[in-house]
Amino acid sequence: MKKSVLTLSLLLTLTGLAACNGRGNSSANQLFDVEPTTFDHYYSNKISFADMNIDVEGKTFIDDKIEKVVYKRDGVDKVGIKYVTDGDTAVFYTSGTQDSFTNPLGRSYSYFTCRFLSIDTPESTSSIAPWGKKASAYAKSLLENAEGIIVDATSIDTSNFENPRDSYAAGCRLDSNGTRWLGLIWYCPDGKDANDLNNYRCYQLDMIEEGYSFYTGNYNPKINGNINYVYNVDQEEEPILYSRYEETFGSMTLADIFFEADIRTSSLEQRHIGAEDDPDYDYSSEPKQMSITDAIANYDTLSKNNTYVALTGVITRFIGVNFYFEDANGTALYVYMGLDAKSIGSLFKVGDTINIRGRMSEYGGQIQLTDIVWAQETFTKVEGEGAVAMPDPIQITSNDFTIARLEELQGKLVTVTLNIEHKGNVSKDYSYTLNCTETVKDLTAAGYQYDSMGIRINGKLSPTYSPEEGDALVGEKVTVTGIMSKYYEEDLTLDEGENFASYQIVVGNRPTTDGVNGTEIIVVE
């Protein structure tokens, strides 16, 4: 059986020249007005957002929100990229309001997560599928370098709903998880004039014609049947688009173009859409054993090849079901389990040595082990000779708060005394950050503003620290033990390349004894 998904090719023989062969095998004969020999973006080169006749100036994707309820919207917006999650999802800044946050500069931004309509790229985050990372890299190359991006959901027909809030609640504007907004993406490539709508290319079409996604159709069961998201709502105003039959028929819908692009690109029998095996994907059933030190040292190669690895180290802290572990060389790594339910907490405790299988990846600027398959053979407890000793927390002071030193301490268990000045916003899963008066010196010297050392409370901790407990710590001097970590928070006021890391100590699952919860944030008397 082919290991990857297969091509879905469509062809008609009009001349009778094509000879069907085999016993169910594909015919090699194709009929396109321009036969594809490579990923030539035949259709996407011919279409721009200007063809859609949609007014975007002054519009907002999500217009108003009161107590998390959306009351009106334009459904189209020029947005900024916050980050690309993978080939079919990204987070955008918008002039509307959704999941607002205030950065340490006191500047407020609003962003929303968007699941791109009509495509479905292979996984590249918590699980890693063949072609997934390539699809994600291609997405980043398009969107992160774009001069401008438009998100368009005007094609979603909400006329059956009395107000947008109903359409939101009924799920016709959100994905099946209820957390990601749906939209078509148009982007203006690097070097082009973002003020000219003729320069905005259709992202979905480029992704299909680059071979990283099928066209998935437009069916949404939450609304009346087979609504086609890619059609304009008003079909009388349907734009002129192009097909291989353009001389004959002139006009077709964008959805038809997607479908044709899928079929035409599939015929190359390459990449994801053509069911080609990913040459940079390790299909082995047995992992390659190596140390965490070697895995990190060879990260670029291992990540590029999606090598199936097995790493051994001592668990230093659980963060919910995820954990940090480090090898005998003291090299540490974060393990992302992917699902809250994947808890090995009953099998392993802090101080145990684990051999775990997965693939190397990167998220938020940090290297991690992910693609963890939930099966017994994934996890092996190592005892005796191969066991790694549990390290004592490294005692540090604010004098260690230099970039060089903090980089040395990444992923390591540390203990430090800090003064808590402020508690940040609490997210919907009860995560929050306690900001301290101590700062990272180099960051301050560079005129950088994100210099406050933070204490990060992850809402998934088991048990967690309630927001009320966080409130009680503000103004206190505390000794905290946790994992030294860093994060990136984009700031639109910074120039490209100036999104420096900020640093924080991530607290682990609380130590508990006989039902009494301990703490790793101890107030200094």
Binding site: M1, L8, N21, G24, S26, D166, A170, G459
Partner: protein, 527 residues
């Protein structure tokens, strides 16, 4: 200038017709595609396949990465076993994006140009669409065959017998073609149902106080809606009193807020089951939502009575509208802008979630003991019908882009994947339900289900054990072309009623109106 708005698919069809009978092939179009059916033999397959020129079966499903990974070894093993017999089959598996509705959408698009697979997975109402478009192959000749290695009848190996399929699963693949003839539309493949998940660390003390905790099993057996309402109200009271805490794995957890303590994931399933459960006889239940004629009939007094009961609890005890307030006893997750109750369960904002067995791992947590029980019923004393929705896909063969060689090869794959051993294996690795009684009763399966404490498979075992306690009243709504549209609109209607307080009769009228726009017959028994 007025623009032409031809669909290219329509254009292709027209051009194809213009081909004056010339062969239409290319892509995945096979030789002799759509030929008249004839049941071939294994010798035919041997004679017409070789290692270098195998028979190719295109198999479309919509599983994600994880389930696909469980299917792959079974398909590989099938190819190897066939090759050992001198039959060379290559199965090209396509995971079509967009879920099963996306798959159906793609098949419906591809039907116009014969860009469809040899075989696929789908729901009965999808099959109704395929029957309407004349592309579904009747599997009766395969099933009825007594030929060794092919059939499911007569002296066929016990692991393959048709009688062995779970009755309720088999019933839904027995359909009618366009002429009203009985056909076998598919073979049961992956099945799930709905159960009730609960945070036992929080709920068990309340159950115990009421005597609803079974002493022998430690489970909440035969839960009723009345019991669920009582438990939910007491959960609210404990949260409000600040006493909702428990100890799990040596740590103390405390829940400090709850909008609703209980969520019911699927509005359409909730609606269908509540109507059936409000009936006193099965005959009434068969004619309360949609009927065998494909008519929508839920504008009736039973619906109003049921909605009255269930809606009251969506607002009962409401204290306000801020995110920290109590909104009611139970509701759909849409009421708090979520899709699944498991999200609130994991955040300790809710304690009970009624949903699909396919979501069992999402309800699990390292913060509480998860237990599973059956879908709540009105009663168990026979005064009301017991019902819980059975769902999941079946495997079918399409006739339009296949020939008799590829059809038989596809059939052998379906037969192989659904034999006792493989349905057992697939169930244990994925959490879908085994489709054969012999699998359900096998020692392998029983050992698996007995081990609820296994950290890797125990959660799935808990869910399947719960389903086994409600199998006797699995129910399905009749499949007809458009039946999925009815469910979709009912989902929307339930959101408007339960989450937005829409007037029942107005909401039903609107739903009827929308369905009638799509040509679906709706019978109004209220007016």
């Amino acid at each position: 200038m007025k623009l032409k708005t031809f669909s290219i698919l329509g254009a292709i069809t027209i051009l194809g017709l213009a081909g004056l009978g010339l062969t239409s092939c290319g892509g995945t179009t096979v030789e002799n595609a759509g030929e008249a059916f004839k049941l071939l033999t294994l010798d035919d397959l041997k004679a017409n396949s070789s290692e270098s020129d195998p028979i190719v079966v295109d198999f479309w499903h919509s599983f994600g990465h994880n389930i696909s990974d469980e299917l792959t070894p079974l398909v590989d093993a099938f190819e190897e076993e066939m090759a050992e017999q001198g039959i060379h089959i290559r199965v090209d598996v396509t995971s079509v994006g967009g879920g099963y509705d996306g798959l159906r959408s793609r098949v419906n698009l591809g039907t116009k140009t014969n860009n469809v697979p040899t075989m696929l997975l789908g729901y009965p109402d999808h099959f109704a669409d395929y029957i309407d478009s004349g592309i579904l192959l009747d599997l009766t000749p395969f099933v009825d065959s007594t030929a060794e290695g092919i059939g499911m009848s007569g002296d066929a190996n016990a692991d393959y017998l048709v009688e062995d399929f779970v009755d309720s699963y088999w019933n839904e693949v027995e359909m009618e073609d366009k002429d009203g003839n009985d056909i076998i539309a598919g073979i049961p493949f992956n099945k799930s149902t709905e159960i009730m998940y609960y945070n036992a660390s929080a709920v068990d003390p309340i159950l115990e106080a009421h005597g609803w905790l079974d002493e022998e099993t430690g489970y909440w057996l035969n839960p009723t809606w009345e019991q669920l309402a009582t438990v939910s109200e007491e959960l609210i009271a404990k949260v409000k009193a600040g006493t909702m805490s428990w100890v799990y794995n040596g740590a103390t957890y405390k829940a400090t807020k709850t909008n609703y303590p209980t969520y019911i994931d699927s509005g359409s399933n909730w609606f269908i089951t509540m109507l059936k459960q409000y009936c006193e006889t099965q005959e009434q239940a068969n004619d309360v939502y949609t009927n065998a004629k494909g008519e929508v009939v839920f504008s009736n007094q039973t619906t109003i009575d049921a909605l009255n009961y269930f809606y009251d609890y969506t607002t009962k005890g409401r204290t306000g509208s801020s995110s920290n307030d109590v909104y009611g006893v139970w509701n759909l997750p849409n009421a708090v802008n979520q899709s699944y109750g498991s999200y609130m369960m994991n955040n300790l904002d809710a304690f009970i979630s009624v949903g699909s067995t396919a979501g069992v791992n999402n309800n699990n947590s390292d913060k509480y003991e998860l237990k599973c029980t059956t879908y709540p019923q009105v009663s168990y004393d026979g005064s009301n019908v017991n019902a819980v929705i059975q769902q999941g896909t079946n495997a079918a063969i399409l006739s339009s882009n296949s020939n008799n060689l590829t059809r038989l090869a596809a059939w052998l794959l379906i037969r192989y994947l659904t034999n006792t051993e493989n349905t057992t294996e697939f169930s244990m690795s994925t959490g879908y339900l085994a489709v054969r009684e012999s699998a359900v009763n096998s020692s392998t399966y029983k050992n698996f289900l007995a081990n609820e404490d296994n950290p890797f498979t125990g959660t799935v075992a808990k869910a399947i054990n719960a389903t086994n306690r409600e199998r006797q009243y699995f129910t399905t709504d009749p499949a007809f072309s458009g039946s999925s549209m009815v469910r979709d609109n009912v989902d929307t209607m339930m959101v408007s009623i339960m989450c937005q307080g829409a007037d029942f009769t107005s909401a039903i009228s609107k739903c009827y109106s929308d369905l009638e726009d799509f040509g679906i017959t709706c019978v109004d028994r209220l007016s």
